[in-house]
């Protein structure tokens, strides 16, 4: 076999996973080739023009804290920023950005082009070449071979994908891009288990044909940035909130037989949390109306994204039903909504490092692993990139814990649980939500990112400064104040005045008093950034709850630290049949992982513990 060129790593696919993976590899000094079906689809936002949201905001900021690109690129292209859930508590607060999808693409493409050690090539990968169970290179559809030691497969929803609109079904990637039709059989040959998932996207409509007076304005905020590296951004464009109508619901019900989902045209499994409008109306029949949001796609186009109304109805039904939305009476659809089916793998075939259990040097990241969402993809991308680089250096993989990052929860769920629908991150998937806040992403991960080698000096310096500021604030808060000094503040905040003195920290523990009130009243912390004050405020107010969670983490860690040897579970007679099969399939690396597998019961775990005990493994 003749190789055109030789690389350390090849990354297949230039979506959000592929971009982070190739940047991590090349920034860790690995000579990397990024292949993509179309250079114009680099970092393409195929669905909403937004980054972040609940739990996803945390993911994106964790990627940022590790030295990834998503946050920085978001700040470069931001149209609007909002802090979601600000009234519902620090554990579930998340930043969400509307971005200019055209700028997002061009800025990321530029970043890749300027990256040292990284080359980009348009082309379809047809085969992953292996020898003795190890990756040795790739072959393109044009029959060129490139040598490499690791491959990161990040093909998104492009594998054997079909777009469906009513009766119309065509082999196609998102937005008319070419699908990847050759790689599936190569993966099958390598023994990677494949399955078929489905997702969808709403129509894009002409903003000039919308009657905005019938929608509620949703302005952005100006105090935030996505990356720790950036200054707060100004919001440029608003979003709008509207509702469906009963007339629209009636119309969809009358035409439901035309929906591919109900006519059996779609075989793939779609996500429950992101249903099409026809699905919502059939499943929640008593609901009179559903919310929808209008999101601008870019400052350089009039196209508007209609969040909440994804559909795979025939074109004429779509046109009629959209017009039954108040404010959409004269709306013109520019791109129809569609459903898309695609091949993805069963990620239980992967280790926690995202490397295949059967082929050395073969990593998978992003939607091909059965997830949904840009942030989920980027999170896997950076971890696959990091671990591919460590594989090349013969270093142990970096596996984030469920108590360490949403990224850890995401990957652990993917490789442990048999995901049956596209996996979207939600805060309720994290058992240690109070620990995994967005205000402490850098404190949780930047030191680690620095050790790995992805965190730049600039970022590391900012992080160290933040730690110093936190210490300064914490020290200042131990200062004792007597009741006279507190009287006017406590009165103003309707707090009962203490008989003896209180430290400033104790004052913040009161329900109605925040660190910002203290700062104002005692004229403190003028040189401290608001994000530091916010962090300290949360740590103090929720101290007891955070400590409880830490106790729980420590308790569960004991089991997570018991590692499982490589054994044939069929030989363990005490295990139930289902458990034996699942354990043989998933091959958990620790007892902790084993007990999170569906179908493995507490008594099965006990059998494992007895076995380990009897064989001196504990």
């Amino acid at each position: 076999m003749e190789f055109v060129a030789s690389y350390d790593a090849v990354v297949i696919g230039s979506g959000h996973a592929g971009c982070e993976a190739c940047l991590a590899l090349s920034r860790l000094n690995k000579k990397t080739l990024l292949t993509t079906l179309n250079l114009d689809s680099i970092a393409f936002l195929a669905c909403n023009p937004s980054i972040g949201g609940t739990a996803k905001g945390q993911l994106a900021q964790e990627v940022d804290a590790l030295g990834g690109e998503m946050g920085v690129n978001t700040d470069k292209s931001v149209l609007q920023l909002r802090m979601l859930n600000s009234g519902k508590g620090p554990a579930v607060q998340s930043l969400r950005a509307q971005v200019d999808k055209i700028v997002y693409h061009t800025k990321m493409k530029q970043t890749l082009e300027h990256q040292k050690n990284l080359e980009i090539l348009q082309g379809e990968v047809a085969e992953i070449l292996t020898k003795n169970g190890k990756v040795i290179g790739i072959k393109t559809a044009l029959n060129e071979c490139f040598a490499c030691k690791v491959v990161v497969v990040a093909t998104g929803v492009y594998l054997n994908s079909s777009v469906i609109i009513g009766d119309f079904k065509k082999s196609s990637g998102p937005n008319g891009y070419e699908p990847s039709t050759l790689l599936t059989s190569s993966l099958k040959k390598l023994g990677i288990p494949l399955r078929r998932f489905k997702t969808g996207t709403p129509a894009r409509v002409d903003g000039k044909t919308i009657d905005y007076s019938k929608f509620e304005l949703q302005p952005g905020e100006n105090n935030y940035s996505f990356s720790y590296l950036d200054k707060p951004k100004k919001s440029k464009l608003p979003c709008h909130l509207g509702y469906t109508s009963t007339a629209m619901h009636d119309y969809i019900r009358q035409n439901i037989h035309l929906a591919p989902l109900y006519s059996g045209k779609i075989e793939g499994i779609g996500p429950r949390y992101c249903p099409s409008i026809e699905d919502k109306i059939m499943r929640f029949a008593d609901k009179e109306r559903h919310q929808l949001f209008l999101e601008p796609e870019s400052t350089s186009t009039d196209e508007v994204y209609v969040q909440g109304i994804s559909s795979s109805m025939p074109a004429n039904v779509q046109r009629n039903m959209y017009r039954l939305i108040p404010g959409f009476e004269n709306v013109k659809i520019m791109r129809f909504a569609y459903a898309i089916e695609y091949d993805c793998i069963n990620a239980t075939a992967l280790k926690s490092s995202l490397e295949s259990k059967s082929v050395n040097g073969l990593f998978f990241a992003g939607q091909i692993n059965g997830t949904s969402g840009y942030e989920e993809a980027a999170a896997q991308g950076i971890m696959a990139g990091i671990n591919a680089a460590r594989y090349l250096n013969n270093l142990p993989a970096v596996v984030l814990g469920r108590d360490q990052a949403y990224i850890g929860v995401l990957i652990d769920d993917l490789v442990t649980k048999n995901i049956t629908e596209p996996y979207r991150m939600m805060t309720s998937r994290a058992e240690y939500r109070l620990t995994l806040r967005q205000d402490n992403c850098d404190i949780r991960l930047t030191e680690l990112g620095h050790d790995i080698g992805l965190v730049t000096n600039k970022r590391y310096k900012l992080y160290k400064q933040k730690l110093l500021q936190i210490k300064k604030v914490t020290d200042a808060l131990s200062c004792m104040k007597n009741p006279q000094q507190l009287e006017s503040l406590f009165k103003q905040k309707s707090e009962s005045l203490p008989k003896s003195g209180l430290t400033l920290k104790e004052c913040i523990k009161r329900n109605n008093i925040t660190i910002f009130d203290i700062a104002k009243h005692f004229n403190l912390f003028k040189d401290i950034s608001p994000s530091v004050l916010e962090y300290v405020n949360t740590e103090i107010k929720y101290e007891g709850y955070i400590k409880n969670e830490q106790d729980l983490i420590n308790k569960n860690k004991k089991l997570d630290n018991i590692s499982m040897p490589n054994l044939d579970y069929n030989t363990l007679a005490g295990l139930r049949k289902e458990a034996r099969q699942k354990l043989n399939d998933i091959r958990p690396s620790t007892i902790g992982q084993a007990r999170r597998i569906d179908g493995v019961s507490p008594s099965d775990i006990n059998v494992l513990l007895v076995y380990l005990k009897l064989h001196g493994k504990i």
Partner: protein, 451 residues
């Protein structure tokens, strides 16, 4: 691992009570208990004096050196005289010498961890324990367990609905709680709390079935408390003399009534005493009073006792044999045919007149004690919360739900969600569906304490 101690025999009256100590510190605790520097050869029994608080008792002690013991660790067993309080005091002494109280199933867990028990053996032990308790309380334990799981699963299910509603609001920021939804959540939480509290209240009867009713005999010196204890239990446990202050320690004995065990604790007469040993006895009497389910306040014509306690009290007038019946229709009320009888009768309303000597009205007294403590008929078919771990789980869930109900109104939603999840997990520890806590601890806490 730290050194743990627990009673290895069933709580209650028995010929012998075995206290088991396991862990690295077991041997040194044995030396401290016996105030002895001698070498204890493993697997040899020694008759030694065990010292605790201000008293001592003869006991057989045996030391098992690791790994040749039940748990695989150093183990000491103390075979003491049977009796609830004595065992408790020896355990207290062990705790003072650095042991900690063994958790439910702790000895079996350690045996398992040290490779002394396989899973099958461990489950075999559990079955034997269950069979024993079946006979004791004549309730099918499988039925019981099934019932409990069903009751708890039902509450956990309701809680899941509330959690799901809150989680949806957290993961979908565009949805907020409406006033109606808020009040629904509060109401549903209140329902769950009420139901769990009702369940927890059955634990009183459950504990009674398991451990018996604790009855404290309190009164001035020499009103005949010890005689009454002997008469009620038909034993000769308490030393009876005419010298006030004879009883210096808490002595217990028990009798059965309507299938329930009543455990009587005789106490030193509470009065001012210069005798140091007796003073300690008086202190202990006050402690007994605190532990009791019911108090028999005993008086005679010379000593009318009063007592201020929240516990249920039965006022007993002893030595009724010294009095002759009056014309009263109520035969329990008698007055002494002396000059002071009229005055006494007026002030002694509500007393039950008994005689330890003749046995008069003792059955009536037993019935009154039963009525006041076993608050409703113990029904062999009804469900009672008996397992200490289950009681703890339900109590914890109630506590967390109360907190959640409060934070729902005052604090951010994420905190309420956390508390509700913890409460849900607490219930899940009973139903066995919780996967978020250490499985190994849960499985093995199914074992009865001390086996």
């Amino acid at each position: 691992m730290d050194t743990v101690v627990a009673l290895a025999t069933p709580p209650g009256n028995s010929g012998v009570a075995i206290i088991r100590i396991s862990g690295e510190g077991a041997y040194s605790i044995l030396q401290k208990l016996t105030k002895s520097k001698q070498k204890f050869i493993p697997r040899y029994m020694y008759l030694k004096k065990i010292y605790f608080k201000n008293a001592s008792d003869d006991a057989l002690v045996v030391f098992f050196a690791a790994p040749n013991s039940y748990t695989g660790e150093d183990v000491v067993e103390i075979h003491a005289h049977g009796g609830y309080h004595l065992a408790q005091m020896i355990i207290d002494a062990c705790l003072q010498f650095g042991a900690t109280m063994a958790g439910a199933g702790e000895f079996s867990k350690r045996a398992f961890l040290n490779g002394k028990l396989t899973l099958d053996q461990a489950e075999g032990i559990m079955d034997i324990i269950n069979a024993e308790s079946d006979m004791q309380i004549s309730m099918g334990s499988k039925l019981l367990n099934g019932q409990l799981v069903e009751i708890i699963a039902n509450q956990a299910n309701k809680l899941t609905d509330i959690i799901a509603e809150i989680e949806a609001k957290l993961d979908y920021p565009e949805y907020e709680f409406s006033a109606q939804e808020t009040s629904n959540v509060q109401q549903n939480l209140a329902f769950i709390i009420d139901d769990l509290r009702a369940l927890l209240n059955t634990s009183k009867n459950g504990q009674i079935i398991k451990n018996g009713v604790k009855v404290a005999l309190v009164g001035a010196p020499n009103v005949g408390k010890s005689s009454l204890l002997n008469a009620l239990t038909n034993t000769n446990k308490a030393i009876v003399t005419e010298i006030a202050g004879t009883t210096r320690d808490v002595i217990d004995a028990e009798y059965q009534f309507n299938g329930i065990i009543f455990r009587l604790f005789d106490t030193a007469g509470i009065h001012e005493s210069a005798d140091k040993v007796e003073q300690i006895g008086i202190e202990r009497a006050k402690q007994t009073l605190n532990d009791a389910d019911i108090v028999l306040l005993i008086s005679d014509s010379d000593n009318i006792c009063t007592l201020n306690t929240p516990k249920p009290i039965i006022k007993v007038f002893n030595k009724s044999d010294l009095y002759t019946p009056t014309q009263h229709a109520d035969t329990t009320n008698k007055t002494k045919t002396t000059n002071k009888n009229v005055a006494l009768h007026n002030t002694l309303d509500g007393y039950i007149y008994v005689s330890a000597l003749t046995g008069e009205n003792l059955d009536k007294l037993k019935q009154q004690i039963f009525d006041l403590t076993v608050n409703k008929q113990i029904d062999g078919n009804a469900f009672y919360l008996t397992n200490a771990r289950h009681i703890q789980c339900v109590s914890k869930a109630i506590e967390l739900l109360l907190q959640a109900k409060q934070t729902f109104a005052t604090t951010t939603l994420d905190i309420t969600a956390n508390l509700l999840k913890s409460a849900w997990q607490s219930l899940g520890e009973i139903t066995g569906v919780t996967s978020d806590e250490a499985i190994i601890d849960r499985i093995f806490s199914k074992f009865c304490l001390g086996k």
